[in-house]
Symmetry: C2
């Protein structure tokens, strides 16, 4: 077999919705979407105009099953697929592929992107991290993935876990920094939006020339007068002050200070 | 007078270079650029094809002087401009406008953007934060600024300082997060570039729907199993682990945990 004929998706969350739309955009009709709760299945059917089911019978007729449920529920789902003949992949950044090793053919299909039901995202440039327990399935999964993205990365469990950990810093924690900025600006009658060009340019620059070379600011240039003033301004925000101090120390210890940027 | 006829720029760093290019792009020839060191003045002259000088005589003939030197040197520069008839502005995010109050007409012209000599940036959307000590000069400075950007924000010292502090979080500290991601990925033979679509989409999303609504990840959903696993993976990186822990606690304490995102 050169490609997966019938594709089943399990789950009714953000990842499941995004994958369904992705397939349909490429002219691939999902064979079925499984939502355990019949009411949820009905909603998926209405929202996405796909065949939605609430039991495994139809899933077992498919050639590829994509498990898009929360991490803790993957094992339970896999227990229904022990006799399944197709390839089973999960979509988790942290869970080992071996979680599926009671099935015959298994792997991982992890799109490295944040997804929500409301937002359309373009998949072309999104890295798809894939793994499978046989070379044939790596080949098939890779061919499947190439329909959606130019960036297919074969990753073992260790590498995928490292990527997921790094993503906490570069995505979740950067987001927290924006949240703190938002809070400090609101206190002064200003909107976070004023920061948009600065943030977008700084991120582009970090990727283009490296975060280390792009870094500016008082800690980078060893400007302790400004750091002291900032710490005073944060007197009423002890949590944000603690974050300011630990990150300022980190910069001072880890980056050269011999430039005025 | 309805506009500034002759514009002097003081300094030979990133901000000075960027402002020179900005003026020239709009067909405004800087009257002179002052670099104290004659060799540096020669270099500025060669690099930017502008009249570069190393003494204040020519500067005193101008109508607007933009001080683009490091914060600690602003006072010294201002001391040469006590009898100056034009408007003097500095470009610092942290220093009070009052640092220039020995001159007659003074203010601030602070472009909220990271600048480097090598990078061309588009100013159209960059917020220009302005202040002047007289309504007439606010009006003139505003008219001057509107030539370069659609986003002119009148800011007093307090507001500008709040913006500068917020910028440390949203620009410098986000950059540090990318640096840590880079380090963790390199350890596993991977490149930071794999993160680019995720980071850019997450930043866009934060500005579009708010950082709080955009936040995902193990801390946000209270996924302590993953947090524990991440902490184990960081055993050899005590500094990065400390940052992971403080930011994870911050998310748990400050954001709702009742969603699986």
């Amino acid at each position: 077999m050169l490609h997966f004929g019938k594709i089943a998706i399990i789950g009714a969350g953000n990842v499941s919705y995004t994958l369904c739309k992705l397939l349909k955009n490429k002219g691939i009709e999902p064979y079925c979407v499984l939502a355990k709760n019949p009411e949820k299945a009905e909603k998926v059917h209405e929202d996405l105009n796909v065949a939605a089911v609430s039991s495994y019978e139809t899933v077992l007729e498919s050639d590829l099953t994509i498990i898009a449920v929360k991490d803790d529920a993957i094992s339970e789902v896999a227990s229904h697929l022990v006799d399944y003949k197709g390839l089973v992949v999960h979509t988790s950044g942290t869970k080992s592929a071996e979680l599926l090793n009671k099935t015959m053919r298994y792997g991982v299909f992890y799109p490295l992107q944040t997804m929500s039901k409301e937002r359309e995202i373009s998949f072309d440039e999104i890295p798809l991290l894939i793994y499978a327990n046989s070379p044939d399935d790596v080949e098939m999964l890779s061919r499947f993935a190439k329909q959606f993205s130019n960036k297919i990365v074969f990753c073992d469990d260790e590498q995928r876990k490292a990527i997921h950990l790094a993503a906490v810093y570069v995505s979740n924690f950067t987001n927290v920094m924006l949240g703190i900025g938002d809070k400090l600006l609101k206190k002064n009658g200003l909107s976070l939006d004023v920061m948009r060009p600065l943030v977008m340019e700084m991120m582009q620059k970090s990727f283009d020339i490296s975060p280390e070379k792009a870094l500016t600011g008082p800690a980078r240039r060893g400007d302790f007068a400004t750091i002291g003033e900032h710490e005073k301004m944060l007197a009423d925000n002890p949590d944000e002050l603690a974050i300011y101090m630990i990150l300022t120390d980190y910069i001072i210890e880890n980056y050269q200070k011999n430039e005025k940027l």
